[in-house]
Structure formats: C-alpha cells, structure tokens
C-alpha cells in the first residue's frame, strides 16, 4: 500500500541564523528534498538609488559604504572610480597605491567572513569563524588606524583618499603581512581535507560553466566554475597592472571549489599588498576637487573586482551638483539568479550550504 505524501511549503527566512541577512526563500519540500524554490527580496531595500539623486557626489560616498557593509572600502573605490571617469579627475600616485592596499586588505577581511560563515553553515559551530574573526580584528585595527572606523569607512574621495596614513600604519601592516600566510595555512590544514566537509560540500550546488556565464555571475562564483575572468587582470583599474598575482580558478563549480577559491584569493591578496608596500611612493593623497563637483554632461560606468563579484556604478550627469541617475550593478543580486537551479533536487541542508557558499550580503542585493 503506497503512503500518500504531499510536498509542503516552508519559509527559510527572513529571520534565520543562516540567511546572511534578511532574505526569504519559499521552498517547497518533498520530505527532505527541495522541489521548488522562490527567492523573495526587498527586506533591506532602502532606496539608495533614489536618495543619491538628491545629494552631491561627495555626499553619496557614505551611501556606498552601506551597500556591501562587509567590504566598504571596495564599494567606495568603485564609486569614486566611476565619478573620476565621469569628471576626468586625475589621482595622485600615492593615493592609487593606498587604494590598492586598502582594497586588498578589505578583500581578505571579506573572504574571512565569507569562508567562516560557510563553515558555520556546515555545522562547525562557530569554531572556524571565531578563528577567522581573530585575524579580521587585526585588519579592522589597521583600518581604525587609518580612518577611525571599523565597518563603514568613507575613506576614499573623488580624486584620492581622504587622509594620509599615520606613521604606525606601515610597521603594523608589515607585521600583519608577515604572519597572515601562516594563518591561511592554518585554516587550510584545519578543515580543508576534513572528511565531513568534503562529504557535505563536494559535488553539491554545482554551477556549470555555461550557466555561470549566461547568468552574468562574477567574482569567486564565476571563477570557481572554471572561467578565468578577473577585472583586475582583464580591465585593470587603478595601478593593478603593476603587480604580479595569479587568479585562482576552480574546475567543477561546487561549494567546495568556491570555498577553495576564496582561501587562495586571500593568499594572492597578501602578495599584492607586499608589492604595493614596496612600491609605495611619497606625495600628496588628494587632488583638489570642488566640494560640490559639477561633472560635464555625460555618462560613465566604472567597475571593480569587489570581494563578492563585479561591482559597477553607472552614473549619468546633467552638469549639476547631484547625479541624474545613480545605478549600482549589484554582483550579489545577479549571482543569485541561478540559486533555484543550484538547489533543486538537493536536500534542505545542501540548500543552506549552497546559499552560504555564494557569499552574499543583503545590503548589496536590496540596496
């Protein structure tokens, strides 16, 4: 006699310890297998694009901090690059190198949380993420030295950075760069070859290469699927063409590959920081730009390789103090396009891990 079963709909989120913010997934489950999934966005929608149309270009920089709030330096950088493209503002060399150092430090900090949260979802009960937070505290101390803030920095300006680094920054940075590779090796040893992590994450949540390109994925998600595309190499901005670094790629595009790609990217970031520290010139750090900047009429699209993907700003100017259109190309939102495909057929536990491995931040998804 066959037992009658029926699928039931369950809400994962918006308040949930594992949805990395306020995100709701309406999943239809048949037993433990996910049969259908509908993502619901908008819980953190603040209307940044509309708000920015009423403020000057410099006043919009703090808004960009709050997009992906775990990688504020990168958001700032993308925005000021777009404005500088629009207005044709030159940037002094010292500021360029400082920007690169901050952006790469931010990439390490963001990946530490990304990997830690992924392992937390796997069930390792806070131990890996607390180890990684210990390193992140060192990075946040460095940032506090520079701009006084620990999370939303507001450090970059149109035409450079807001202030020069204090004297104690470079020795502290040198100390950090010396010990960090050892810690990355420690994370590798702790859990990378663990049976249970391999069983949970290998072969789970696969994003095939063609699908990844078709959904405009970017960042570690795209690279783990086997596509060698990194904006720092393909379309170098700032002074990235002067550094030597590799682009780690995966092969299969499963959760394990995304996790490995992030760990290796941290190593490459340390390499870039070392080179930037050696080549750091002296000089001023900010070009004089009017406080109420009036760029000429036109449009510009400036993009960078943020830790979570390609973050772009599309700005349209009508020669007034405020932007006519301020659009954010949010990598996290676009990376989620194939979430349903990656989850269907897997179990609830895999669905949570897959979502964690994409590493999104709801501030950028909802804006």
């Amino acid at each position: 006699m066959a037992i009658k079963t029926e699928p039931f709909v369950i809400n994962i989120g918006p308040q949930h310890p594992s949805t990395h913010g306020v995100f709701r997934m309406r999943t239809t489950l048949d037993g433990e297998v996910v049969v259908d999934m509908e993502p619901v966005f908008g819980y953190l929608h603040r209307g940044i694009e509309k708000l920015a149309e009423g403020r000057t270009y410099t006043q919009n920089i703090p808004f960009t901090d709050r997009l992906d709030y775990l990688a504020s330096m990168s958001n700032n950088l993308a925005y000021v690059l777009a404005v500088e493209k629009l207005a044709g503002v030159p940037v002094p060399q010292r500021a360029e190198y400082l920007r690169v150092i901050m952006a790469e430090l931010q990439r390490i900090a963001s990946h530490l949380i990304g990997v830690g949260a992924f392992l937390n979802d796997c069930g390792a009960f806070m131990t890996p993420i607390l180890y990684m937070i210990r390193e992140r505290e060192k990075i946040l101390d460095l940032f506090e030295m520079v701009c006084g803030q620990r999370l939303t920095y507001n450090y970059m300006r149109v035409g450079g950075v807001s202030q020069d680094i204090p004297e104690e920054f470079l020795p502290a940075l040198a100390k950090f760069v010396k010990v960090m590779p050892g810690f990355i090796d420690e994370y590798d040893q702790l859990l990378a070859e663990n049976e249970i992590v391999l069983a949970r994450a290998k072969g789970v949540g696969i994003l095939p290469k063609e699908l990844a390109i078709n959904i405009s994925a970017s960042g570690p998600v795209l690279r783990a699927s086997g596509v060698q595309w990194d904006i720092r190499k393909a379309d170098p901005y700032s002074v990235y063409d002067r550094f030597e670094f590799d682009i780690p790629t995966g092969s299969v595009g499963d959760c394990y590959d995304r996790y490995r790609v992030r760990i290796q990217e941290m190593r490459q970031s340390v390499r870039i920081i070392k080179q930037a520290m050696e080549q750091l010139p002296s000089g001023e750090v900010l070009t004089e730009v009017p406080l109420r900047l009036r760029p000429p009429e036109g449009e510009a699209y400036g993009h960078i390789e943020a830790p979570k993907g390609e973050l772009g700003f599309y700005l349209v100017s009508d020669n007034s103090e405020t932007p006519y259109r301020f659009h954010i190309r949010a990598s996290c939102l676009i990376n989620l396009t194939a979430l349903c495909d990656m989850m269907i057929g897997w179990k609830v536990a895999d669905a949570i891990i897959t979502f964690g491995s994409i590493d999104i931040c709801m501030g950028e998804v909802d804006r």
């Binding site: 310890p17 489950l29 069930g123 009960f125 131990t127 069983a199």
Partner: protein, 355 residues
C-alpha cells in the same frame, strides 16, 4: 536488620543522592562545556558570574525560569505540555542502575544494561511529541530527523553492548564492572568506538546534531518551547550526556576501579573525561546531513558491530570468559584493519534527486 537494610529507606536515600548528583553534575557539565568550548574557540567563555564564572549555570537557570511560557495557539496543548516530561523522565530513570561504587546503586538489577537500553529509547517518543505538537514545520522536520536517527543508532549500540556482556558473562552493571580486570576498552576497542559514535548520535551531539541544527532548522523540535519547558529539554540534553558518559565508564573504562583514590572519585574522573571527549568533538567537527547519518548507521556501523560480535563470540568460546592480556593487541589490530577496510569501501552517498 539495621535501619539501612530497609528497602524503602535505601530507596529514599539513593533517590536523593541521584537527584543531587544529576543536578549538580549537569550544572557542572554546563559550566565545563561553556568554558571548554570557549578555550577551543580562542575566547574566554563565561567568567563574570561568580568567581571564574562558576555561577553561570545558576544564572541561566534563573533566566530561563522567569521567562514567559508561550504555547502555540494551534498546537496540541496536552501533548505540548507532556512532551518535556516524557523526554526527561526516562533519562533520569537510567541512573537507577548506574553503580557509583561497589554496591552503591539504587537497584542492583541483574538485567541492568538491558533496562538501560529499554528505558533510553523512550526519550524518542518525547522528542516526537514535542515536534508534532508545536504546529511548526521546522519542528516537524527536526522531530522526523531525530526519530530516524535515534532508531537507526540503537541497533549498533545494542550490538556493541552485547559484546561486553559476552565477556562479562552477565547483564548486571556491578558484575560488568567487577569483571573488568582489564578494562574492556582494551579488550573491545572496536566495540568502544561503535558505542561512542552511537552514543554521540543518541544524545544528539555534533556531528549528529542536525536534529537541532542551529543553522538550518533553527532549534528543531524545541523551537516553540520557552521557559521551564525549554529548561527541561536543555536538561535532557545534558542529562543524556551525563548518562552516556556514566554508561561508557561502567561498560568500558572499569567503573569505579582504580588505585589510591576513593572509588567514587575515580568514577567522577572517568565520567568527566568522557564528557571532555564529547565537547572536544563538538567544537571541532562540522555536522553531517541526514541521509549521510542514516547511511553511516546502516552501511558502516551495523556490519562492523556484527563483525565485532562474531569475533568476540569466537574469542570467548575458545578462550573462556577470562580473556588473557595477549588478546588486547590482537583486538586492536583487528579494529585497525576493519576500520581502514570499511573507510575504503564505504561511500557516504547522497547526491541529487531527479525532480
């Protein structure tokens, strides 16, 4: 007949001893676990309440007791109310046969270990009652997972106990301890491993804590519980850990035996040592998925338990019940070979289901 030979006085004294012991040890375990986990996670752990944070469990208990008692409107009220009781009472009943010292136990049943196995399975009923009556899909998933897991791991658990019983020649807990001139962990290493893993699954601890996986189904079957009822589930978890530690000590580590110190102290030391292993594993290892848990129980532990039983039976048949020292390295070698062999051929399975 002195006053103390009276059955009911003996019963009353030991009920008081057991209740104090269980409550005291559970408070101590909560404290040890939180400080220990903190040190594993390179942080301090609670150290504010009382000297070295020793009064932290007391603070937790007071906090939990003064919370509002919420009952889901559409839930099944009587089942909801009964579930913590049904989950808690069997666990307390296990302590009736745990020997603290030679002759010092509530009831020296001659079917001691069988009683323990039978009573500990009842906790599953309480868990499922909690999951069903909460009228919440998350708790239902958690309850289903829990029942499946508990039932699957009972079998390897019981089979590994039978190995011990064969060597000891009796089901009574005191006789099992007295038969351990060589601690059974050395004579039955494979049995110890299987029992340890099975015990982890029975008490819902990492890596088998998917029942209450915080990051997936947000507390599983006790998601709707608050106040005193939640305190009872919390207690159930630690009492089960204490009970399993006590049983492992009795069955495999030699109970109260040991030189120099008074026997009761040896018992405590061994129990705390086993518990240390429990939370060491909790802080280090991620959790498994439900189908992997089931596959592990049925495809890996069950055949190993059967093989262990077979080998033990052969050894007892050939050598008689007092097994000599030479068997220890033989058994260790057999365990190593079997574990390596199984890990080569065992696939954890899972994968995508066509939808």
């Amino acid at each position: 007949m002195t006053l103390f030979d009276n059955y009911w006085i003996h019963f009353a004294i030991f009920v008081i001893i057991i209740l104090t012991f269980v409550m005291g040890m559970v408070m101590g375990f909560i404290y040890i676990e939180r400080r220990g986990l903190g040190r594993f996670q390179i942080r301090l752990g609670p150290n504010r309440v009382g000297p070295f944070g020793v009064l932290q469990p007391v603070a937790d208990a007071i906090k939990v007791l003064i919370k509002e008692d919420i009952i889901p409107a559409k839930g099944d009220k009587w089942v909801f109310w009964l579930a913590p009781v049904v989950a808690f009472v069997p666990v307390l009943m296990i302590f009736a046969v745990v020997p603290f010292q030679s002759g010092a136990l509530l009831a020296d049943l001659n079917i001691g270990i069988l009683y323990v196995v039978a009573v500990s399975s009842l906790a599953a009923v309480g868990v499922f009652m909690a999951g069903w009556s909460s009228n919440n899909k998350y708790s239902l998933i958690g309850a289903m997972r829990d029942v499946a897991q508990l039932l699957s791991y009972e079998i390897p658990l019981v089979l590994s106990i039978v190995g011990v019983v064969l060597i000891a020649g009796s089901l009574s807990m005191t006789k099992i301890v007295e038969a351990q001139s060589i601690p059974f962990i050395l004579l039955q290493p494979l049995g110890f491993l299987i029992f340890f893993v099975g015990a982890l699954a029975e008490i819902n601890r990492t890596p088998f804590d998917l029942v209450e996986a915080d990051s997936e189904i947000v507390a599983g079957f006790h998601i709707e519980y608050s106040g005193m009822k939640f305190a009872m589930f919390y207690l159930v978890e630690y009492c089960e850990a204490l009970a399993m530690s006590a049983i492992i000590t009795t069955l495999f580590l030699g109970g109260w035996k040991g030189p120099l110190l008074p026997p009761f102290l040896w018992f405590l030391i061994k129990v705390v040592g086993v518990f240390f292993l429990f939370f060491w594993i909790r802080s280090t290892i991620p959790r498994l998925r439900i189908d992997q848990v089931m596959a592990f129980a049925w495809k890996c532990l069950l055949p190993l338990a059967l093989l262990n039983l077979l080998i033990t039976a052969i050894q007892v048949l050939v050598l008689g019940e007092a097994l000599p020292w030479v068997i220890v390295p033989v058994n260790l070698a057999i365990m190593a070979v079997l574990v390596v062999l199984w890990s080569k051929f065992f696939k954890l399975g899972g994968g995508r289901v066509a939808v």
